[in-house]
């Protein structure tokens, strides 16, 4: 770059001005985008932290006007729903990812790949309707199971594509080495290829997890929400995002405070997951994935 000054000397002031303006515009865009990010986190911490206390984390909601309620049942409910979702989404997602990378280098595989990307873009509220008609209509009532099915469906495409990417990073020579030793093909895939890519796949699963943890829309008419302790998967169940929504649009100050506290807990859960993912990614072989 030593010859740069001599080169720019020949450039007209107008072109140089445009160059500076473009840089300024790009910087301004970055600042404008970071502004709401900072604002949201500052407000979450500032308004949420005062309302997080022992009661909030251990009690169930109280009626309006009765102090001391909490969101413990919603935190439990979110855990139950996410467990059901993972039980559905993780095996199917990994399987589909294995299919795409090991058997899907053909037009059929391309079609599935495309379908997964399209499924990823289906609005979550539509997934909610489908879970409603698949589970709620058959069971005749709202349930944690229905919520788990909705979120599980949403996890599949993300995990599928993440698994495929990670498996493709495993060098062919590793597979050939195993096959050359007489190991069967499925054994190679399970014990060698998947094993090698494990850190990256876990990363993908956790990102999918973080993505659905805050989903509210598909739970509105599946999990439905509840004011009571429950871990029964066949009954309506509370969930953190649902509770935040109900409290946020209510007219009561006390509920607003609880909504901020709930939001802070939820964002800590999500950002914590992403932070762990980053840690795995920076230690393991899968650079640049998270």
């Amino acid at each position: 770059m030593r010859n740069r000054p001599t080169r720019t000397d020949g450039i007209s002031w107008l072109r140089r001005l445009k160059d500076h303006l473009a840089t300024a515009a790009a910087v301004a865009a970055v600042l404008l985008v970071l502004l709401p990010l900072a604002a949201i986190f500052i407000y979450l911490v500032q308004r949420g932290i005062g309302s997080i206390n022992w009661a909030f984390l251990t009690r169930t909601p109280t009626p309006v006007g009765v102090p001391g309620g909490g969101m413990a049942n919603a935190i439990l409910g979110t855990g139950v729903i996410l467990a059901i979702a993972s039980a559905i989404g993780v095996p199917l997602g990994i399987g589909a990812g294995v299919f795409l990378s090991e058997y899907g280098r053909n037009p059929f595989g391309d079609a599935i790949r495309f379908t997964a990307d399209v499924l990823n873009g289906v609005p979550s509220i539509v997934i909610g309707i489908v879970a409603y008609s698949l589970v709620v209509l058959r069971q005749k009532h709202f349930s944690a199971l229905a919520g788990g099915v909705a979120l599980g469906i949403m996890m599949i495409p993300t995990i599928t594509r993440a698994t495929e990417e990670m498996l493709l990073l495993v060098p062919v020579s590793v597979r050939e080495a195993a096959l050359g030793l007489g190991v069967s093909r499925w054994r190679t895939t399970v014990s060698i290829t998947l094993r090698t890519a494990a850190a990256g796949i876990v990363t993908g699963i956790m990102l999918a997890f973080a993505r659905v943890a805050g989903e509210t829309a598909p739970l509105l008419f599946t999990a439905f929400g509840s004011q009571f302790w429950s871990a029964n998967i066949n009954q309506p169940i509370a969930a953190l995002p649902l509770q935040i929504f109900v409290y946020a649009i209510s007219p009561y100050d006390e509920w607003h405070r609880q909504a901020w506290a709930g939001a802070l807990v939820l964002i800590l859960l999500i950002v914590g997951t992403i932070a762990v993912v980053r840690l795995i990614a920076s230690r393991g072989m899968m650079k640049g994935t998270a």
């Binding site: 985008v33 058997y103 873009g121 289906v122 935040i244 901020w260």
Partner: protein, 313 residues
Amino acid sequence: MLERVGSRLPDELFRYAMIACGLSVAVLLGLILYELIGNSSLSLHQFGWKFFTGRIWDPVNDVFGALPFIYGTILSSIVALVIAVPLGLGVAVFTTEMCPQRLRAALSFSTELLAAIPSVIYGLWAIFVLVPILRLYVEPGLMRYLGWTGLFQGPPYGIGLLAAGIVLAIMVVPIISSLTREVLSAVPRNQREAALALGATRWEMIRVGVLRNARAGILGAVILGLGRALGETMAVTMVIGNRPEIAKSLLAPGYTMASVLANEFTEATGNLYLSALVEIGLALFLVTIVVNALARLLVWSVTRGLPARVHAQ
């Protein structure tokens, strides 16, 4: 090839199991379509195409027209894109072409965080922070200086189409910027070097060497952002005002397809009412499928030939 009879069967079984998992993705998409059509058949037969042109939504008298929701969905998404596209492109250009290496990771982490914040938290923040700011400062200003356009009239409630559009814009920026970044980094290096060698300034190099080559992919990123904006539910429901009206002013309350589902689905009494709501879901599904497929094809047209990981989203 050695004959290994013993290991054939498990291999085949494993292959079929994996194919079944792959197929399940396609089956799911088919199942969604099947359920949506099945559960909306009542409304499909009753109203036909008039469902989408009817302006009246009156559950009490079983009259269902979805036009106000379609209007609100499209208008709030347009507002979102008008704000988000320049910002998203600016961020992408800055991170790929201008940013010092050290800042790059921090910036991509920030946009990742922005994408990870749940919709309901955006809504919460918008109700208590954004809407008051709009009501007290922004909307009176818009009315005074841009009131003549007709887009900014009526009482400044704070909540309404404008607020929904702004929240959507914040949510859509990370999608547009991260995909655009992928597309920009897929443009071959020699295009940039050629432009610089001809004496271009950095901006001219970006404009001629990078942006022009990435046009199709950028369009794809924008359309993908549109797809997200069309289907976004919670944050919009919390700030748009939820009134099924067709108002010209952006300050007026509106309603979107996704938010009518969120608000009325559990309360829908009567089969026709429920069926009409599912039909709105069906329409939303079909539109987002088309939009997403189009966007993917455009993005692929630029990034194809690179390793699969480039498509990550």
